[in-house]
């Protein structure tokens, strides 16, 4: 039983990790807590739905199902397109809301604005797709029985594999590409990076694209293994923030590790507290980490 909780914790932790990468990057590099980030997960998930329907309309090869999974090439392609579309939404928001505010107002104004943006994005989903849960596929899947009596779905194995691939790819990108190194420079000190010839605007664009793509992947994977609903992202706000704060803003591995800790503690908490209080667990984690490291993991310089 406890092994099943651990397996479920790792699976939901993987989704939180993917979503938290972008949140953590924007907290560090753009210096504001983006409460609308979780809505990018929702838009990614519903974007996947639209693109999948589009590709399925071609029929033939697209209709197929890959191996033991519940989905075929259509959803795989749709996932990529959802990343692109979500990135466009994020860049639009950056260009017309957050960038303007960061020029003329403080960081807290950006946090307010992100509340407003989140409200608009979430309820647009309700207006467009309705508030009933939707599934990508009705195909039946057989659980794989692992040693110790742990049951996982093939889709969940895919989720974990894809997360691992994305994290490794991002790691290579951050350590080996010029853009990745410049990004780390901007995270440390944007002015200094600018003086050293880094095009800060271009790096900021990359931050949004990476963050939004991670969010879109997390959204599609959530939709694939759970369901699509308009509150998908909203219900993940606290887990995402908990992961980003636990891991330390701006850290790729921190976000992944934080996501895993959040997923595991949420799923293991049901052993000691009633399931109905499970959504409060990420919040308790946030309080605990902030209590022991009151300035956050990365100590902010005092002004």
């Amino acid at each position: 039983m406890i092994l099943q909780h651990i397996a479920d914790g790792i699976l939901s932790g993987a989704i939180v990790s993917l979503g938290a990468i972008g949140l953590s990057f924007t907290m560090k590099m753009l210096r504001f807590a983006n409460f609308s980030h979780s809505e990018l997960l929702t838009w990614g998930a519903y974007g996947g739905l639209v693109f999948a329907a589009f590709f399925l309309s071609f029929g033939g090869f697209m209709d197929g199902i890959i191996g033991p999974f519940s989905f075929g090439p259509a959803l795989m392609l749709a996932m990529l397109c959802a990343c692109g579309a979500t990135s466009l939404i994020a860049l639009f928001l950056h260009r017309f809301v957050f960038e303007r505010l960061s020029r003329k107002a403080g960081h807290m104004t950006m946090v307010f604005a992100s509340f407003g943006v989140a409200l608009v994005l979430r309820h647009l989903v309700v207006l467009i797709w309705g508030s009933d849960p939707i599934y990508y596929s009705n195909a039946l899947q057989f659980a794989i029985l692992l040693p110790g009596g742990v049951r996982v779905m093939p889709d969940q194995v895919f989720l974990l594999g894809l997360t691992a691939v994305v994290v490794i790819a991002l790691h290579l990108f951050m350590t080996h590409s010029r853009t990745g190194v410049a990004m780390r420079g901007v995270a440390e000190n944007p002015d200094l990076a600018g003086v050293c010839g880094v095009n800060v605007d271009r790096i900021v664009t990359w931050v949004w694209v990476i963050g939004a793509s991670g969010a879109a992947l997390a959204g599609v994977l959530y939709g694939m293994t759970v369901q699509l609903r308009p509150e998908l992202g909203f219900s993940l706000i606290l887990p995402l923030f908990a992961a980003a704060i636990l891991g330390g803003a701006g850290s790729l591995y921190g976000a992944v590790l934080g996501g895993m800790i959040v997923g595991l503690s949420e799923n293991l908490s049901v052993i000691v507290i009633p399931t109905t209080y499970k959504p409060a667990v990420p919040f308790l984690l946030i309080l605990a980490i902030l209590y022991f490291r009151p300035d956050g993991i990365f100590r902010e310089r005092s002004r």
Binding site: M108, F112, V120, F283, I286
Partner: protein
């Protein structure tokens, strides 16, 4: 005509109840710069305390002490204040955005407690039969509502006058000093930590008062009344009216609640009945857009902070 008047009275009552909460938030954000993203949670504490203290006795649920209205208001403020003190001691050391995340989490947790702790809160059903004091004073809903409006005008007037006096006092100037530059304030011997906590607790007590006034008007309390959207509405009211200005806080409450009600009315008339359920989503989109556009176009609000120059510096 009577219909219009009674609707106007009803509308003003709710605007003023919201206005009280906006005044509390204004003390925290406008004057002290504390980002409280858990407003709905502190309103909920006040509302449930009011319901428990003044409501009728119930089977299997705690409370129902049948205390008088004023005792309920005081109790609600005290409960929200105690809750805020506990939360504040744990979180006020945090800088802005961490405080926002932490208070957001508190509101989520409070809502979970309201939903699930049936012995205290009645669970999903909530608590019903909370007395409205005006029922004993007058006959008929219009007269009762008009009286309740009168009660509210008095309560809001007192709160407003007290806050105006507070923010102009030396303590109020200390709030602004800490908002503007905490290090400078500390170097002049002001204790930022203690003052931030005091402002947070006082602001939350006023939010609790708003919750208490709400339940005794509506007559019941349910966990669905304190969803995070309430926090967003109250924030939008403050931003639209103008933070750090108590008049602005009340004006914002009136305008945003007006827009919310009017849009609800228009949607119910214009939108076909099949998609009426989505009407609430349209209202939420509207509130979000107002918040974002206001921040972009006029960040200081309709009537923003009045700038003061110390009379000692002027001469």
């Amino acid at each position: 005509m009577i219909g219009l008047v009674s609707y106007l009275v009803f509308f003003l009552i709710l605007s003023l109840i919201f206005g009280v909460a906006v005044l509390g938030l204004n003390l925290q954000w406008g004057f002290t710069g504390l980002f409280n993203a858990g407003v709905a949670g502190f309103i909920a504490i006040g509302a449930y305390t009011m319901a428990i203290l003044t409501g009728p006795a119930r089977d299997a649920v705690f409370g129902g002490f049948g205390l008088p209205f004023v005792a309920g208001l005081i109790g609600a403020m005290a409960a929200s204040g105690i809750g805020a003190a506990v939360v504040g001691i744990a979180t006020l050391k945090l800088r802005h955005e961490y405080l926002a995340v932490a208070t957001f989490g508190i509101a989520v947790t409070i809502q979970l407690v309201c939903l699930n702790w049936e012995y205290l809160t009645g669970g999903t059903l909530g608590l019903i039969g909370i007395p409205n004091p005006t029922k004993a004073w007058a006959e008929g809903p219009l007269a009762q509502n008009a009286l309740y409006l009168l009660v509210l005008v008095v309560v809001v007037g007192l709160t407003f006058a007290a806050l105006e006096r507070i923010v102009k006092s030396p303590w109020g100037r200390m709030l602004k000093a800490i908002r503007e530059d905490e290090t400078a304030a500390a170097s002049l011997g002001k204790p930022p930590g203690r003052v931030r906590l005091e402002a947070f607790v006082l602001g939350c007590m006023i939010m609790g008062l708003s919750g208490a006034l709400y339940v005794s008007f509506i007559g019941y309390v349910s966990p669905w009344d304190f969803l995070p959207i309430v926090t967003f509405q109250i924030w939008t009211m403050l931003i639209v009216g103008g933070s750090a200005n108590n008049r602005g806080a009340l004006l914002g409450a009136l305008i945003v609640w007006g827009v919310w009600t009017m849009s609800g009315f228009v949607i119910s008339r214009v939108v076909p009945s099949e998609i009426q359920a989505q009407g609430g989503a349209m209202q939420a989109v509207l509130i979000g857009l107002i918040l974002v556009i206001m921040l972009l176009v006029r960040p200081r609000g309709l009537i923003g902070e009045e700038l003061h120059v110390s009379r000692h510096a002027r001469s």
